[in-house]
């Protein structure tokens, strides 16, 4: 399994970057008040909640 970790690392980075793109429609929804704000709040916060739930943090290497 460990041989795939570099792939997962790149995938994690890719997902993090992708989640940042949600900020664009999120800002747009807030500016227009089109009622879809909560959808982006959820979508944007999910990766961060996942990170918190896994106990990972930037200071935690997690290399187990």
């Amino acid at each position: 399994m460990e041989r795939f970790f570099p792939v997962f690392r790149a995938l994690g980075l890719l997902l993090s970057m992708f989640s940042l793109t949600l900020l664009i429609p999120l800002a747009f929804a807030h500016i227009l008040g089109d009622g879809a704000e909560s959808a982006y709040d959820i979508a944007f916060s999910l990766p961060w909640v996942a990170a918190w739930r896994s106990g990972a943090s930037p200071g935690n290497s997690g290399a187990t």
């Binding site: 995938l11 994690g12 949600l22 959808a39 990766p47 290497s61």
Partner: protein, 433 residues
């Protein structure tokens, strides 16, 4: 984020196998995130939300949504933004950024870029190449948005449709698609930019950096691309004119040109319900979408270069039958094409045909009529969007049941990853140490 945190100590250069796995994982997992706003806001099922997200990120443009005009603007923006990102390949964007973060991207780029000549490099460093391609992509998108706005679209519509045009996606902010404006000027702009997007972005890059427009004339694939499209537009115009589908010849040319170029380049915009045309016309358009787009473009299908090589190889075999001892190299643009590339093209074309037949038969087995099954398979595998029958421009993929939607979702991924990338990960040999 969690994945990255847990695995961030495992740094090493990605090899070819890693590249394949990463691309497949990215294109399967990213739609999960892209689907969340659609799923939570629109209250549609997970199957439809994931389908919509895959359709966006593969720049297919197929949809199950109705009353698009009434969607919250931010949802429409999100759909078009994802289709734009998917068009050129989110991986290419990542290749431009990941090297700065210590991740080599050469293998990812090789697996992702839609071209039969994957080893062709524009600049010595792969990241520079990706950045160059993205700059061209952003520049052309900006020009397209400006042109749409000048022609009468609102800023929001112009931006969304520019995203959708340059990615050859085909999403629109209106149910009526381009018929909403009923403007030959807007349709002309769309045709111009669909043609631009259907060409190899490497050629755009070389032409722009070298400031030499003759680069386009030196690219045999582009000449074939334009030639086939021009001949087809004339053919369909005369065909429709013969059936008196439209009242004037100008009107016939306008509708034939827009819909044909849109479907053939795999964009999927419409300004008329072409499924009501005499059957040969939409069938020819669907046939074109399976090979017309150039390699290195945002279009789908087997790509024009492969089609030309196949044609030349068939011609060589005919010559060989007449002159068995003569040497007949296959040439493209004055250069002999290596034998291994010809074998790769043959293998790809074979697996493409097998995939198309398998998807059509599976959809047919699931209960769809043969026209809908075949056109849905063609439109999904080539990342075109609209097909014929129930999935034609008059309807959409909402007519399909959940298993059929999943089959089309798989077909879109298969087409976007040029079949081999996905299939190679599914082989047992891939997982052996």
């Amino acid at each position: 984020m969690a994945l990255w945190c847990v695995t961030r100590k495992f740094r090493r250069d990605l090899n070819v196998r890693d590249g394949f796995l990463l691309v497949v994982l990215a294109w399967s997992v990213l739609p999960l995130f892209a689907a969340i706003p659609i799923y939570t806001q629109l209250g549609i099922g997970f199957t439809h939300a994931y389908f919509e997200a895959v359709s966006s990120l593969t720049a297919t443009g197929a949809t199950t949504l109705a009353q698009i005009d009434n969607l919250p603007p931010s949802i429409n923006l999100w759909r078009h933004l994802t289709i734009w990102m998917g068009g050129m390949g989110l991986i290419v964007l990542a290749v431009a950024i990941l090297p700065m973060l210590g991740i080599g991207g050469r293998q990812m780029f090789k697996a992702e870029i839609p071209s039969p000549m994957k080893d062709t490099k524009l600049t010595p460093r792969i990241a520079q190449t990706a950045k160059g391609l993205w700059l061209v992509y952003v520049g052309i998108t900006s020009l397209c948005a400006l042109a749409y706005h000048q022609a009468g679209m609102s800023i929001f519509d112009a931006l969304c449709h520019a995203f959708s045009t340059i990615s050859l996606g085909g999403f629109s902010t209106h149910d009526a698609n381009f018929a909403y404006w009923n403007s030959p000027k807007i349709e002309g702009i769309a045709i111009f930019f669909m043609l631009i997007a259907g060409m190899n972005f490497s050629t755009h890059y070389i032409a722009l950096t070298g400031r030499d427009l003759r680069t386009y004339l030196r690219d045999p694939e582009i000449l074939w691309f334009l030639g086939v499209l021009l001949a087809s537009v004339l053919l369909i115009t005369f065909y429709l004119w013969g059936f008196q589908v439209y009242d004037t010849s100008t009107n016939t040319l306008r509708h034939a040109a827009f819909n044909l170029i849109s479907i053939a380049t795999t964009a999927g915009f419409t300004n008329a319900d072409y499924s009501q045309w005499p059957f040969f016309a939409p069938l020819w358009m669907l046939f074109l979408c399976s090979f017309v787009s150039c390699s290195g473009s945002t279009g789908g299908g087997i790509k024009m270069m492969r089609a030309v090589l196949l044609y030349k190889q068939v011609y060589r075999e005919l010559l060989r039958a007449m002159h068995p001892n003569a040497v007949h190299p296959v040439k493209l643009g004055g250069h002999s094409v290596p034998q291994n590339m010809l074998f790769a093209v043959l293998a790809f074309s074979f697996i493409y045909m097998v995939s198309l037949v398998a998807i059509t038969l599976t959809l047919s087995f699931s209960g769809l009529d043969i026209v809908t099954a075949f056109s849905a398979a063609v439109a999904s595998l080539n990342n075109t969007g609209p097909g014929l029958g129930q999935v034609g421009p008059g309807g959409n993929y909402a007519a399909l049941n959940d298993p059929q939607i999943w089959i089309c979702t798989f077909a879109m991924l298969l087409g976007r990853l040029e079949i081999f990338t996905l299939l190679v990960v599914l082989t047992p040999a891939f997982w052996k140490k």
